[in-house]
């Protein structure tokens, strides 16, 4: 009897879809859970790095070395009351943090953690990530509008202008990488072998990309959307408890995403540093290299925060439109010219 049911199940149309569905669901859960643990510890990491930079101890009370601090914070935010302002647009007010958090998670679907370790290995992976990161602004601008508060609104407007500006130069950086690689697939981008001079030629783009990434994630020195000194808390002034926590988690997940993009586009993803494939380096699994590189870039984010004062808004706009945009446009042309002149323009077919 059981056999018949098994055969029916096995031969049925739904078997393939159900089986694939369960596998994909498991993969998605693993990625999200691991990512959220990393995000939780990124807050701890940030506080420790800032503390070290300012000659303080940082969190050291909850658990050994303060390691349980992220969980204490999470528990606190979960049991606090969510306050919705009287004049707020309730639906959009609650939708905004969910949107930010969801968009910060969906990008990871196309990130290759190791050779073949990717949930969705799609053809246009890099464009997908670019699209997702450009959507991140909606959570903030909707939050600013729905809060019905002047501070929130100003924060939202600042964020919209800032993220649209820096997306342009990020787009040109991605174009220059695509020119050298000839593929939009992230695994292909990581695996593409570049000669050393090409790596040298791309290094200014790495700088442009990283700084634009700081602006894209609203991190210091470009954290004007939540500039405390003039806007109270910017777009998240009115948010409390879990709604605030979702914005926080989204921001850190976005930082990880920019770090992962930097790693995949410029630092060789899961491959050992500089693509040196010699024995002791290749023994380490690719995913550890990937995580290590991401953490190194994350450290840069925190280092910048501990070091630089906030930009003024006109300086921010000047940097984006008058320096990065012309420079990255010019550099795309330089890279295309060099590729054309040396005959190394990729033409995979």
């Amino acid at each position: 009897m059981a056999n018949i049911w098994f055969d029916l199940w096995h031969n049925s149309f739904w078997h393939g879809i159900a089986g694939r569905g369960i596998t994909i669901l498991a993969e998605v859960l693993i990625v999200i859970v691991v990512l959220l643990i990393f995000v939780a510890y990124a807050t701890y990491f940030e506080r420790k790095v800032l503390a070290l930079a300012q000659l303080r101890m940082g969190p050291n009370v909850v658990g050994p070395f303060g390691l349980l601090q992220p969980f204490a914070d999470g528990l606190k935010l979960m049991v606090k009351e969510t306050i919705i302002p009287a004049g707020a647009n309730r639906v959009l007010f609650l939708m905004a943090p969910m949107l930010t958090f969801t968009l910060a998670l969906v990008g990871w679907a196309v990130v290759p953690f190791d050779d073949g370790w990717v949930v969705a290995n799609i053809n246009v992976g890099i464009l997908y990530l670019f699209a997702i990161s450009s959507l991140g602004v909606y959570g903030i601008i909707v939050a600013g509008w729905a809060s019905n508060s002047k501070y929130s609104f100003l924060g939202g407007l600042r964020s919209a202008a800032q993220m649209v500006s820096y997306e342009v130069s990020i787009g040109f950086v991605i174009v220059s990488v695509l020119l050298t690689v000839g593929s939009l697939n992230l695994s292909n981008i990581v695996l593409a072998h570049q000669p050393f001079w090409m790596w040298l030629l791309m290094s200014p783009m790495l700088v442009v990309f990283f700084i634009s990434g700081l602006a894209e994630t609203n991190r210091p020195p470009f954290d004007l959307p939540e500039g405390e000194s003039e806007l109270v808390g910017g777009f998240n002034t009115e948010y409390s408890a879990m709604t605030f926590a979702l914005f926080m988690l989204g921001e850190y997940a976005n930082m990880f995403m920019i770090s992962a993009l930097t790693t995949m586009l410029f630092l060789g993803g899961w491959l050992p540093p500089f693509g040196i494939m010699v024995a002791p380096l290749t023994w380490i699994p690719g995913i550890l290299w990937f995580i290590g590189k991401i953490c190194a870039v994350m450290f840069l984010f925190l280092w910048v925060r501990a070091t630089l004062p906030r930009f003024r808004y006109d300086q921010l706009m000047r940097l984006g439109w008058k320096i990065f945009l012309p420079f990255s446009l010019l550099w795309v042309m330089v890279i295309a010219g060099v590729l054309l002149a040396t005959g190394t323009l990729p033409n995979p077919q």
């Binding site: 149309f13 799609i122 246009v124 464009l127 450009s134 919209a160 202008a161 939009l184």
Partner: protein
């Protein structure tokens, strides 16, 4: 099977959100429904196997154009009763336009898509089969190889529109202090400060 279900979901949400763009009373809600419509259109493109077009739709329309829409609409203080005043004078013309467009669409659907007989040269390079190459590459070949000049002309038209917008909005306001970073960096100590020896009780001499 799954594709069919997805198609109907995307289409239904697309049509519903497009209707809500027109009918919702709040302009910000209209823009948000417009964004939802863009998303579902992107979903339909993916079902057609045009993933590149779908991503570009999201990046350009949702990621940039709709952000600016939202930016402007949020800052407007619209009085809807004021706007509705003229509705009776414009209504007949609007209905007329709608009927014309609808009849054209109906003709298109029932006649099918037919290239004009003079379209021979334009069809010299038909789209390559998607089974052979990815659609990003197919689009690249069409735009940048076969129809490069047409594409460049389209770009120039956009450039003219952009210059026009800048010319219309550019104002030179007097009294704006601009930051010149090169001047700031190139300042020397000798040209910006003077060290004076001041004897006590005498005060600093005038510069």
């Amino acid at each position: 099977m799954i594709e069919t279900i997805a198609f109907y979901i995307f289409s239904a949400v697309l049509v519903a959100s497009a209707i809500m763009v027109v009918f919702s009373s709040n302009a910000v809600h209209s823009v948000l429904f417009l964004i939802l419509a863009f998303f579902n259109a992107a979903g339909l493109f993916i079902l057609l196997g045009a993933e590149f077009v779908a991503m570009i739709l999201v990046i350009v329309y949702v990621g940039a154009v709709a952000v600016l829409f939202l930016f402007v609409v949020m800052m407007l203080d619209i009085n809807f009763s004021e706007l509705r005043k003229g509705i009776n004078t414009y209504m007949p013309f609007g209905i007329f336009l709608g009927i014309v467009l609808f009849i054209e669409l109906v003709f298109l659907v029932f006649q099918g898509w037919v290239a004009p007989p003079s379209g021979g040269p334009a069809l010299a390079a038909p789209a390559p089969m998607l089974t052979e190459i990815s659609n990003t590459r197919a689009l690249g070949q069409l735009i940048y190889t076969h129809y490069l000049y047409v594409f460049q002309v389209a770009g120039l038209i956009l450039l003219v529109a952009m210059i026009g917008a800048i010319v219309l909005t550019l104002r030179h306001r007097p009294g704006v202090q601009r930051q010149r970073i090169s001047v700031q960096i190139n300042r020397k100590r000798s040209e910006s400060m003077v060290i004076r020896q001041v004897s006590s009780g005498a005060g600093a001499p005038k510069l």
